[in-house]
């Protein structure tokens, strides 16, 4: 249980007794678990708990024990939701007229708030503009389907919104994929020394959350002669590198040509662009994390909290599909630095690598360095048999 201790655990017919805060896995469908509290805890209440003694046996005493108090508290909090899931939890809620009105009013207030701010004569021009921007941003469409004007409009809104909120100017691009470009990447395993300069540069370039220390790139320290064993590799070492008897290899989003993450997205918030980049519309993402589960390479990251970057460290050269500021509850990942690569610049990791282990270029250009690597070195990709067609090759000297 070490390692995932703080996460929610499912205990299905476990033979071991649950030690911490075990709620009674009640089997009866009517009345719910809470019923035995109302019935002043009679002995005959059937309890679906696996253990015959201990927590369940405590019903026989008339006073409320600690366990019963806990159960009651849980019931009060989630009650019916323990039996219902998903759709039912939301829609099969018994609601009297008063609660219904209160809830309706609450959502109306939010809308009215936006409207009143924008129509009010007393609020300032800036807050009106903010409200107007928020309103339009809220109801904009999927970036993939936008026309060029719509793309420009949303980019302008986002730039203005940042200016209004932070009093700082940013530039944001919405550069499209260019014809005859297909981005590809090669990684020289013999050259990488594990310095992690690439990770540093990536975090800075892409405005990744500093609090959760999100990192798109992982550098795995692997034992010589053992091959790729990700379960035994260390991707968070801190000692002098390169360590004796180890080699280093980096992983990040591989921008698959047949990306499973795109296939599973229920809202089409992620897609593959014509130049091969797999991108995300952060404003369309609903945060279901299907893509995170579908990616066989651990390439995607989720914002569990609001991403924060100190104002002086924010990279203000941004792209809508790239390093613009994200929000809580959306996915993000490596974009091959779309804000740089689409202008002809190398991604930040390539530029930062002091060993030259990272090679980036246009796969469609027969004279590019990436093509030379693919044609003249013995290259391979990770989990090639999955048919995901990553555009990220590994090779050795």
């Amino acid at each position: 249980m070490s390692g995932i201790g703080k996460y929610f655990k499912l205990n299905l017919n476990s033979a071991t007794k649950q030690t911490s805060g075990g709620s009674c896995g009640c089997g009866n469908t009517s009345g719910g678990c809470g019923s035995h509290i109302n019935e002043s805890a009679p002995v005959k209440t059937s309890c679906g708990c696996g253990n015959t003694s201990g927590s369940c046996g405590s019903h026989s005493t008339p006073e409320i024990s600690e366990q019963e108090f806990f159960d009651a508290a849980v019931d009060a909090a989630i009650g019916d939701e323990r039996k219902k899931d998903g759709f039912d939890q939301v829609f099969e809620v018994k609601m009297d007229r008063r609660t219904a009105f209160r809830k309706l009013t609450a959502s109306l207030m939010i809308g009215a708030g936006a409207v009143s701010t924008s129509c009010s004569v007393t609020t300032g021009d800036e807050s009106k503009e903010k409200a107007q921007i928020d309103w339009e941003e809220q109801f904009k469409g999927n970036y993939k389907l936008m026309t060029d004007e719509e793309r420009n409009a949303t980019v302008n809104r986002l730039v203005r919104s940042y200016e209004l909120r932070k009093k700082e100017n940013i530039t944001m691009k919405s550069t499209d994929a260019v014809k005859d470009v297909l981005f590809g990447y090669a990684f020289n395993i013999s050259k990488c020394q594990g310095y992690m300069d690439c990770v540093n540069a990536c975090v800075k370039e892409n405005n990744q959350d500093r609090n959760s220390e999100m990192q798109y790139i992982r550098i795995h320290e692997m034992k010589d002669g053992e091959g790729f064993k990700f379960n035994e590799a260390d991707d968070n070492y801190y000692h002098e590198v390169p360590a004796e008897g180890h080699f280093y290899m980096g992983t990040q989003c591989f921008h698959c040509d047949n990306p499973p993450c795109v296939e599973v997205c229920p809202v089409e918030a992620t897609w593959r662009e014509d130049d091969g980049l797999v991108v995300i519309d952060y404003d369309w993402c609903v945060g279901c994390r299907y893509c995170m589960a579908a990616c066989p390479y651990d390439g995607r990251r989720f914002n569990w909290s609001k991403p924060e970057v100190p104002e002086e460290e924010v990279n203000k050269d941004q792209h809508y599909l790239g390093n613009r500021m994200r929000k809580k509850g959306v996915m993000e990942k490596c974009t091959f630095c779309v804000q740089r690569s689409r202008s002809g610049k190398d991604p930040a990791c390539v530029e930062a690598c002091p060993t030259g282990a990272r090679i980036f270029g246009n796969l469609l250009d027969p004279n590019s360095t990436i093509r030379w690597v693919l044609e003249n070195k013995k290259v391979f990709r990770l989990k090639e048999d999955l048919g995901t067609e990553p555009k990220f090759w590994y090779f050795m000297d």
Binding site: N236, S343, K345, D346, L364, P366, S368, T369, E389
Partner: protein, 208 residues
């Protein structure tokens, strides 16, 4: 008999149409990524994207080696005490023993062993402004890679192609790359070990 034949023809037609449609993969028109790259790069005539502006203020010279043409940083202007003959006014032998200020005391040759290399392997005491090849041909300081390539031929091949060394600026044309001495100190070419530039404390917490 005729009815059988028409049924047969109908069946075959149906089968053929079915086969045509079922062969169409949902993944796209290519069987694999390599096929796609091969097919789509056949009529490649360059892109509109240029990387020229990202080379920055680095002064470069264009070199052509075999089928590869690209730029490398100009070197002579970067060497602190170039031109060498400003101090090396006389041949080396005559300078030795003369009561002059000591020079190059900071250079300690750690490159191969003494049997194989010494200063004179690359430097010419009679022509200090140039390097020299193993066959005593002069090599310009700006093209010092030619000197390295004498022994390190696999690295030279990889460097020309782009598999060794570091690209400068951007991925598009014009291509510019670091030359050997931009990363390796020619007198001590091995790159030293050091500490990683960061450590993720949150990852440690997450995995506790």
């Amino acid at each position: 008999m005729n009815r059988y034949r028409s049924a047969h023809i109908l069946g075959v037609t149906f089968l053929l149409t079915f086969m045509i449609f079922s062969c169409k993969h949902s993944e796209g028109e290519y069987h694999s990524l390599t096929d796609k790259i091969e097919a789509e790069s056949k009529n490649y005539h360059g892109t509109t994207i240029s990387s020229e502006s990202y080379i920055g203020d680095i002064e470069t010279i264009e070199i052509t080696e075999g089928e590869h043409t690209f730029s490398i940083p100009e070197r002579k202007s970067q060497i602190t005490s170039y031109a060498c003959i400003e101090c090396h006014t006389k041949p080396l032998k005559e300078l030795k023993g003369v009561d002059l200020k000591k020079a190059h005391w900071d250079i300690n040759l750690v490159h191969a062993n003494e049997k194989i290399m010494n200063c004179a392997t690359c430097h010419n005491g009679d022509d200090m402004n140039n390097l020299k090849s193993l066959t005593d041909t002069a090599i310009d300081f700006n093209r010092s890679y030619q000197l390295c390539a004498q022994c390190h031929s696999p690295q030279f091949e990889d460097w020309k192609g782009g598999a060794h060394g570091k690209n400068i600026g951007g991925w598009s044309s014009p291509r510019a790359a670091m030359t050997c001495v931009n990363c390796h100190n020619p007198h001590k070419p091995e790159i030293e070990s050091r500490w990683p530039s960061r450590f993720n404390t949150q990852k440690v917490k997450e995995r506790e």
